[in-house]
Amino acid sequence: MKFGIVTFPGSNCDHDAYTVAKDVLGEQAEYIWHVTTDLESFDCIILPGGFSYGDYLRPGAIANFSPIMKAVREYSDRGGLILGVCNGFQILLESGLLPGALVRNKKMRFLGRSVYLRIEDNSTAFTNRYKHHQIINLPIAHGDGDYYNFSQNIQTLEKSGQVIFRYCTRDGELSPSANPNGSIGSIAGIVNRAGNVLGMMPHPERAAEALLGSADGLALFESIQAHIGNHKLRKTAS
């Protein structure tokens, strides 16, 4: 399969994502400059973390107006897999591909540390290699990660099972102290209704090799690999 990693001016996790896709998973990977408009050849698009356009206006706001985002929206409409991490999540929210907004961390600080997360749904294209309610350890690095949405929209998200990751304690309990940025419902990652677009604040690409302190993020990329593999098998069979 082939991963496409979008590089905006100011992206800085594109190399991490590329390394995981290419060297750790052994799949094809390619950087895509933000003015590209053809995404036909890719099986999964990654919007990486960083500070696209210096976070000017709002994090992710200007990136949303770059030429590639029209193609990303069409790619999503066709059911293509899109993973947005950190600034990539912010871009997905600005573009309306995912609902809600990310606002300044509740305690104002930029947070760079590792957190525990609970897998809320292991049936998605992005989490099928995890166990239900598995606790994983991933790094976060953000100043604007407090997930916000209107209360009726939060209810909709919860009811339709779109919350995929929640911040939790080492034992998997939800508590304000285990919620680093003040996100409503301890939300750390959500999918769209169709399940082909995932946005998350923690960085799985920075934790995909034991050498880096945690390999808990690897299963997310393996999930995508398995999902695409199955999809292609089915296509060949039919």
Binding site: M108, Y148, F150
Partner: protein, 89 residues
Amino acid sequence: MTETDTMTDTKTRIAKVYINLKEGTLDPQGETIQKALRTMGYSKALSVRCGKVYEIEMEDDSPESKKQLEEICQRALANPVIEKFEIKW
């Protein structure tokens, strides 16, 4: 158009756009500033909401320009999920 032209062109209008968080949206920045004011002894400053002001030079203040600025605010300058905007001509 040269720089002098811009400076002497009196037809252009500076519109001010005020962006602020909607009521009910948490504003940790404003809260931090308010706490600092209290620490400084300013007991009468009860709350602070922190926003942004943009000064935008528009070609003129015609209905078309007004419409365009309204659209700029909706599509780019404000995030409708969390922010509201006000335009002053």
